[in-house]
Symmetry: none
Subunit: 207 residues, 4 copies
DNA sequence: CCCTAAACGAGACGGTACGTCTAGTCTTATG
DNA sequence: CATAAGACTAGACGTACCGTCTCGTTTAGGG
């Protein structure tokens, strides 16, 4: 497959790529992703539903995975609600509970898992997933930690990454393995444990 | 697809199924799983490498996923080392460090993720994954908790499930998303945080 | 493309190729050839009409051209009538008139031209066309010449090839270029001219 | 497809059609015709080689076939040499030998066959082929017959069409089917046979 | 010791989807 | 307004696998 990416800043020649097209393709892909999941999302069907030639899809997206990521982002980002509580534990709870609401038993959740699996092999997809999903989420969560530091709840050099991994990791695990439900009791306890660890300085950088 | 499962205890008629066959298939599947990952494991290639007809594979395994699970188990179980330390934190550390050694940057790790993704759609695979991978692991870990209870380190009605999710979840997350390395500093801090939470009774059942 | 042709006389292994299949494909191809001509005969449509996978077609025929040749043969050979007259001119007339009836304004005629054009590029098709269409026709015509020799109408070492080219060439030309009709007056005159040339020994070998 | 044909004689508005363009297109088409033959001449490649938009080609030529005919004409006409001998047979021989030299084993010959095949389906191409290739050739050949009539070699009401079909038909046949070579012995005998037929009045109109 | 019946290898079968290519049309900016 | 460039819809190309099937060939019991 060949995807030409413009590098120079010459004047663009020929017919410009249609944004209508891109939107039709994304919304078709999004539909299929919800109905059938990532595994059964085929370029052929996206093209048919969007009334678009297959070449137009290949012209705009390098791989099926990256197309699916774009389609996934629409729903995933829209549903992420920001929250601000009085204590770190409250913030942690609402962040995790919000995520659980979006992914537990939903098409979005299944799509997320499918993308993660695909990203193990499609390295470009992995990179984009980190840049476009993980990094923005972490940036948004940084504020939560900073406010807790400002309140004096936790040490100033607390490592955001470890704390967020401790918070979301257990939930990812239950989402993936399905061995236990993502109940609100679970969310509450995880938030409490993470808050405790943070307060006790387990996550400070120079440990 | 039709897989006949014998229920009655009649005498088996005809040529018995060959265990040589099963082994050849499993080892071919295992090879491919390591070389190319779950996504690129095709029945066609397994059959060719094992010098076996495709029907023989379909006769013995319901789906590609379950075949891959069987192939995966060989490596995954062999490499799981049991450990017994002096404190809960030591035990948690060695358990997590052992798991990380098996999956971080290894074919086994990539296979694990592929299987988890497939299990979102192949429900039977999900069930078998829980029964044959998750459940035995948890059973093995139960001893670790019980010894900590016996030593008086943690409350007696501590919930194993939450504790193990707290321990392994963050590592799964880093394995999946690759946003941060599975360093030994990471493992150490996670073990410390989980031990702390356990001691403080965050995971007791009636919370 | 890869088409395996058996050369050795080993026992055949695996499922034998289905003749039903071959027949269904040929009759679908024949239909399309008549309806739309060689240019618009696509493997895709043959497969669809014959309720057959595309791979089955590619497994049995090297190229679209050779498939079309096989389909063409059915009609072309069936319609070739043998004739025996009292004089060479009568024989020549009935041979040419028979051919004209089969190809003038018929799907078979258009198919013939399409195959000839394709054969300019598909050398294997050209070879098979000569072996399976031209050579048998010439063999059948040889009898006509031999009888004329036996009757003493023409010299004994008359060259069949030249005579037949003189007979059919003009008709091919009108078929191809369509500049003049393939009328029965035309057929009559051509037969007379060829008979005359033959009698006068224009086609003897050592000329 | 839509081809706008100007009927009125209004003053032309806007940028005039470039003749440079037409030439670039024709010479690109001619190149490809020689390299790959008619079957593999694609509008896409012509446009690319001529540094021309595809629309410009469609604006100037109705079909691929007619473009190819235009490209073909350049070579075909250039190479047709006129000849004048002392007898009809000499004239016939030199006419046929000249044609054979142009088409036997040459790209021009293969292009000729491709065009003839295409013309079976593209009726407009067939018409243009007759008007621009066949008709001028016959007009040129008329002189040969008239001179033979003037010399008293052949009857005055000899049918040019039949005679030329008898002359060129056999050569077309060998060109198409390739069953026998277009040797000079072949050309000589055909010329002799046609001259004989003409002398004997086989081609007179009221036969 | 043959008979029976299922398992075996091989690979053909009807399908689906792949990623590429070309057709013929449409839409920009440029001349 | 013609042009070069190239994006657009449409659909065929030849390939790779899917899961099923149909062969001829083993390979065990049970008669």
């Amino acid at each position: 497959m060949i995807v030409t990416v413009k590098v120079t800043n010459e004047a663009p020649r020929g017919r410009p790529r249609s944004s209508q097209c891109r939107e039709a393709i994304l919304s078709a892909a999004s539909e299929i992703l919800k109905e059938k999941g990532f595994r059964d999302l085929t370029i052929e069907e996206v093209a048919a539903r969007a009334h678009v030639g297959k070449a137009t899809i290949y012209r705009n997206w390098e791989t099926r995975g990256i197309l699916a990521l774009d389609a996934f982002m629409v729903d995933y980002l829209l549903l992420q609600p920001p929250q601000r509580g009085a204590t770190l534990e409250e913030d942690l709870f609402s962040a995790l509970a919000g995520w659980v609401a979006v992914v537990d038993g939903t098409p979005t959740g299944r799509a997320l898992v499918g993308l993660l699996a695909e990203a193990q092999f499609d390295l470009e997809l992995g990179k984009q997933f980190r840049d476009r999903v993980v990094a923005p989420a972490r940036a948004a969560q940084r504020d939560m930690i900073e406010r807790a530091v400002a309140r004096g709840e936790i040490p100033p050099d607390t490592d955001l990454e470890i704390l967020m991994d401790l918070l979301f990791g257990p939930a990812y695990l239950r989402l993936l393995e399905g061995h236990q439900p993502l109940s609100s009791a679970f969310v509450r306890r995880i938030a409490r444990a993470v808050a405790l660890a943070a307060r006790e300085g387990v996550a400070v950088r120079d440990l």
